[in-house]
Amino acid sequence: MSASRLRCLAICAGVALASCAATPPKEPDRTAFLEHMPRSILVLPPLDETPVADAPYGWLATVTRPLSERGYYVFPVALVDAMLKENGLPTAGEMHQVSLRKIDEVFGADSVLYVDIKEWGTSYRVLESDSTVSLEGRLVDVKTGTELWRGSWKAIRSSNEGNQNGLAGMLAGAIVHQIASSASDPMPELARGANWRLFNEGTTGLLVGPRHPGFAEDQKNRRSAPAQKAK
């Protein structure tokens, strides 16, 4: 076997290895989450850093399902919103300042989810349009104030996704997308996808909750894992 052929083999092997090694995200420290394992989540209306008036309620209409399907009791978001407003808290900013003691008293929730919408909406350029949802979330234990989880996710969908047809194709893509968007808002679906990735992703999402069929096994595995730091 010639030297050059050997080198080629080595390179090929290297390429193959590298392509396998797209590193999965590292699992964060789950100690606090396991220690204060919540059964229920109170979702507060989100802070909104975008100029889009629809963003907070658009997002609120997509958050109950992924959290419930993850195994948690999720308080009814519209009723919670109404209760807080009735009690003199008209904005999400003020709601996020409510003391945990008060939340415990009124709702009896185990944990509170604070979400900040960083980006929300569709921007149109000459040849394409991008829809974006960017979220940051924090789950806090109501009894102790301990942060149980933190995460963020940004979802982008371009009008040119999968479009390889050059300029004409791009133009058509942008127009079709714009027409489609005015008929049906792409945001709910994009937000749903972003929530799903943010909360239900195995390594970085929330731990599986008590109402999930996989709960007992997940807890057992995590609590017996040798990697678990001794306290």
């Binding site: 059964r39 309620y57 209409a61 997509t62 009896g108």
Partner: protein, 128 residues
């Protein structure tokens, strides 16, 4: 008919198609989610649209929809999602039907004891 479509050839072709279909199904299987724990119906979106409308103009419509969803979940013996009974109670409360509202709040508490503190509070307020 041509020999190309003789039974043996057809069988071979069929099995090839089946094999590739199996591979496809298997590949797709990796990406699909487990079946839902709950029967969702309109609840999630309904809750969002109510927030948006702040008070809701089409309450009877929303009540009808959500009641039907809950009935359907029961009929299919799948589970009513967390918050759905409470939300229906809220819709009744907004439309002045306090008796039905109280029944729904009680149903939420029974199905989901996690909501007990909140539901008891709502029921107490209604009695005042």
């Amino acid at each position: 008919m041509s020999r190309l479509f003789a039974p043996a050839a057809l069988a071979a072709e069929l099995s090839a198609v089946l094999a590739s279909a199996t591979v496809l199904a298997f590949g797709a299987g990796c990406a699909t989610r487990a079946p839902d724990l709950y029967h969702w119906g309109s609840y999630e979106e309904c809750a969002g649209s109510l927030c948006r409308e702040a008070g809701g103009t089409n309450l009877p419509d929303q009540i009808r929809k959500l009641s039907a969803d809950i009935e359907k979940a029961r009929a299919e013996s799948s589970r009513v999602p967390p918050g759905a009974h409470a939300h229906l109670g809220y819709l009744y409360d907004l439309s002045g039907n306090f008796e039905s509202a109280a029944l729904e709040f009680a149903a939420e508490k029974e199905l989901y004891p996690e909501s007990a503190v909140f539901m008891d509070g709502l029921l107490r307020r209604m009695k005042k």
